[in-house]
Structure formats: structure tokens, C-alpha cells
Symmetry: C2
Subunit: 311 residues, 2 copies
């Protein structure tokens, strides 16, 4: 990894989840150890789960930025690459580094860059491998943050995105951090399902990502819960909030994935058009705009690819 | 790097140069050592320089393919990522791995993948680093091929794309291959400048790449020589051939870079429109569609970025 001398910002995607926050902190730390001058920032406030993680390891939340060009000429992206998931003025700064574990789309540079992506369950696992390759030691607190991100992204290894390398990384990081990752991990995941205190608008925004598919603006949000019924008791209000967002932001289609983290099933609420493309993508019949998707927990691996294909 | 069990093809860009041919052979060898089932192929016949390299190290030229889907479901790209530089049916196969040293543009996947790019002078240098990371030994013959690619891409370290890592890689590979890289390298570069036997159409095609800039189709070719006058004695015929290609292929703008590898200067011949964007990009006045660009030898680093910016 070659480093420039000018300060750069490092950040994950909008509506940051635990990995987006942690991967930025981890990659910024690694880059600074290698001689760069970087600061980890975020494109939004930490969610409930991430707050639990930051409190547990006594780590401050990152500074939030709305634009980058007013501060720096160059940036490093973690845990995303698609422009619509990045900082609003991403086109006006140079991207020098990307570390990611997603598909590549709607991403373009004018010059060569460092880009490292692997199809692993979590971006923090990819970054952990970069620490090893560069022979940089992971401090105990950062190890705790990184294992939290991996547990979050893999739902404690229940997600089909989980690889042997993610599990191995958590085990190694748990030793450095000195935590019982199974007990801690379940507490952390449950902290993220505290939905009662959230408005409908918060629920449909917190983990939402935008995609362009077949010329349509598609929005996909995921809510983790331990009780599907608790969420669907608010279905009418959720629909109203989604319809409002679709109209205000020009989304053609909104998919709300409500995922039960205890049994790894998802119930889908689909607002907008084309509904039949969603039905085709998952080979299901939508009843009252809803469908159960048993065993589906991963937006990246089980929702985006079939939907992309159906479009 | 995770590997699948199905056979995959590995290839570099259209109009292959030495790096495109060699990087495919090197990455295919590495992947096979790691347990994958791959075959290195090419999207065109080796040029004069590459023929010299393959003859010197007694390595057969790779099989040439026109399409991929008739053979495999998945492919690995080296030394390129832009769709218009890849196999014609690239959209119909899955890209599982990319190793590159160029900008990223016009590249999109539906699923996560292994993507490793670094801003180094040669893709074969990036691959050499992957051999080291994976603790796989480079065989002597492959070492000779890889140092040839690095010398080719960096013009024996004269190109501004050259990094300390490219030089170091050549020195280490030369020890493995048992060659005097300086003497061999100059012989190899000169072999690539044997232009007298080539038609104008061959000259403007051999190393040409297509780009989309500001909605325009831009074609950029580079010809290496030891004597600019030898090439520009054929200017009228070259213009006619370029005008014919622009018309037939819908190129709006064609830049022919004629590069003197002895003193690292380029003379540009610009056919098509907008001419003023080219003048602005390089801060020069085009006289009779030509401009001298002292010290310019790299399309990737010294031509594409300023042109992209001007558009």
C-alpha cells in the first residue's frame, strides 16, 4: 500500500452499521501505522447495536461528515464502493484506497488506485488479513471492535455470507480482546433489535441502501428482530412511511427485509413497482405485498443478486 | 483467495501486450497452485515484443478466445477491468477474480468478488506480490516472463508509472530466471519497435484501447519506436487508416501516441473531435493535428487522467 503525505478521510457507507464504523477505524489505524495521515469518520450516527459496541469497548463515536471536499482532496472507502452509498460529493475527491466485501457497481476512478475486495462475510475480516500481511499488531480495543463487526455482519456465523476466514478471525481477535465472543455476540445482536423506541421512519432508514437495477431506483432496508410479530404489528404505519419516502426520494421500489436473527428467516414487505419482478426474483407469491423467505438473512448474497437477475 | 471447483479462464485485455499475456499465465499458475482449475488464454495474437519474449523463454503462445460463455461460467481478469477492453460476452459470465493496476471504470458485478488492484507500474508486479503473500514459488521460466512484462510496461523503469516495487520485483525475478535484465530488457524493447514490416492498420490497432469520456468514444493507441521520423514518414497513410477506423467503429476521437523509448518523449497525432479538449488536456497547441509531449510515455498515467479531466 502506497501512501501519500496529504491527510485523507476514511469512511464506510451511509446509514452506517457496525462494520461501516469499525472498518473505517481499523483501516485508518492500519494506514497510519504504515505512515499515512488519515482520520476515520462516518456518514451518519451509530445505530443501537454499534452504540452498544462503542460503549462496551469505551471507544468514542467517529466524527460525522456530510461532504469531503471541504476538508481533503482524497479519501479511502471501506465496506462500500457504490457512489449512491458514499459521501454526497464523492465525485469531487480522489479515491486512493478501497477495502470492501461487496459487488462492484457504479464506481469509477480517473486514476489507478489500491482496491482490495474479497468475498468474505465482513469487511473487517478483509482488513484483519491486511493487518497480518503488513505485520501490524491489532491493539486489544480494536480487536474487540473488529470481532463485533464480524459478528454483526455474519449474525454470529448464521448468515450464508459467513466464511471459515470470518470465524477464524473472530476466534483470533477474541483472544487479543479477551472476550467470550459467543456470550458477548448474542448480547450485542440483541441490543440492535431494540425496536420499540424507534419511529417507523427510523426503522425504514437505519440500515437502508440504494441500488440501481434495470433503470429503477431500488431501496432495500433490513431490520433485525427477535420477534417478527412485534414489527408487523406496525405494518400499516410502516407502509405509510415507506410510501412517503418513495415519493420524496423517487424510489420506484422499496423492499423491507424483517429478519428474525434467532431462526434466520426473513419476511419481506414490498412497496412500489414492479412487484412481479420481486415475486420472480424469489420465486414466491406476494400476498398483500408480503412474502416469507425462509433461510434468507443476507441482503448482499440472497436478495441483491436474484433481484438484479430478475431485473 | 477462495476458489471454486469449476474450470475458469484467465485473460488480459484485447490487443494484448506482454503484460496482458504474461499476467494471465502467472495468475493462472498461482490459482492452480492454490487449488483452482484455470487456463490462461488471450484475446488476440502476441505482438512482436511478446513473440520475442515467448521465443526467448521457449513458452508457447496462449490459445486465443473470441467468447467465454461457450466454454465456462466464470472468468478471472488480469491487467484490465473495463468491459470494452474485455472479451465480447463479458456481461454473460461471472467475474470471480480481478488483478489489475489500472483505474476502475465501466466495470460492474452482481455478486462480491476477489478484486486486487495496486497503483504499480505493471500487473505482473502485483501478481508477484500475491505469489509472495501466498508463499508460492515462481518457477524460473515464469520469472523470466514476468520480468519481461514489468520491463515492457515500465519501459525499463523510464516510465513515470514505475515504482520502487516494480524495480525490486525485476531484480528478484532476474535472479530466479538467471538473466541479465538490463541487456535482455533493451533487446526485448527494441524487438517491439520493428515497425517497418507492419501495415498502417496494424500500427493503429496493435496496442489500442477504448475509453468512454464525456459521452464520447475515445480510442488511444501507442506505438513504441527508436525513431519518430520513421513513423511520421507514414503520417498521411496513418491518418487515412485512422479516419477509416473512426468511421467503421464509431470512434469520435483517436489519439495515436508515438513514443520514443530511447528519450521517453511522445508525439501525438489526433484525429477526430473535439481537438480543443485534447489541446486543453495537455496544455499544448495542436499544429496540423500534432503535438509533442516531452517526457510523456504512459497512456495510463499521463494521457488518460488529464484527458478524462478535460472532458
Amino acid at each position: 500500500m502506497e501512501n501519500s503525505l496529504m491527510k485523507e478521510l476514511v469512511f464506510g457507507h451511509k446509514n452506517p452499521d457496525t462494520d461501516a464504523i469499525v472498518a473505517a477505524k481499523a483501516f485508518s489505524y492500519l494506514q497510519n501505522q504504515l505512515g499515512a495521515d488519515t482520520e476515520a469518520v462516518a456518514l451518519g450516527t451509530p445505530n443501537e447495536e454499534t452504540k452498544f459496541v462503542l460503549d462496551y469497548f469505551k471507544e468514542p463515536a467517529p466524527r460525522i461528515i456530510k461532504t469531503a471536499k471541504n476538508e481533503v482532496a482524497a479519501v479511502m472507502l471501506v465496506d462500500h464502493n457504490e457512489a449512491q452509498q458514499s459521501v454526497d460529493d464523492i465525485a469531487e475527491v480522489q479515491v486512493t484506497h478501497v477495502v470492501d466485501h461487496h459487488r462492484i457497481a457504479n464506481f469509477e476512478t480517473a486514476a489507478p488506485l489500491f482496491y482490495h475486495a474479497e468475498p468474505l462475510g465482513c469487511c473487517s475480516t478483509v482488513i484483519y488479513k491486511l493487518f497480518k500481511q503488513n505485520e501490524v499488531t491489532v491493539p486489544a480495543k480494536l480487536a474487540g471492535l473488529m470481532l463485533s463487526a464480524i459478528i454483526s455482519d455474519t449474525l454470529l456465523f448464521k448468515s450464508p455470507t459467513t466464511t471459515a476466514q470470518d470465524e477464524q478471525a473472530v476466534k483470533e481477535l477474541a483472544k487479543i480482546a479477551g472476550v467470550d465472543y459467543e456470550t458477548y455476540g448474542l448480547d450485542m445482536l440483541k441490543a440492535g433489535t431494540n425496536l420499540g423506541s424507534k419511529t417507523e421512519e427510523e426503522l425504514i432508514t437505519a440500515d437502508a441502501k440504494s441500488f440501481e437495477m434495470g433503470g429503477k431506483k431500488v431501496r432495500i432496508d433490513q431490520v433485525n428482530t427477535v420477534d417478527l410479530n412485534e414489527v408487523f404489528a406496525r405494518e400499516a404505519a410502516l407502509r405509510t412511511a415507506i410510501e412517503k419516502q418513495n415519493k420524496e426520494n423517487g424510489y420506484d421500489l422499496f423492499l423491507l427485509m424483517v429478519t428474525n436473527i434467532m431462526n434466520s428467516d426473513t419476511r419481506l414487505l414490498v412497496v412500489g413497482e414492479p412487484q412481479e419482478t420481486v415475486a420472480k426474483a424469489f420465486n414466491v407469491k406476494l400476498v398483500d405485498n408480503k412474502a416469507d423467505l425462509p433461510g434468507v438473512v443476507s441482503r448482499k448474497k440472497q436478495v441483491v443478486p436474484p433481484l438484479e437477475k430478475a431485473f
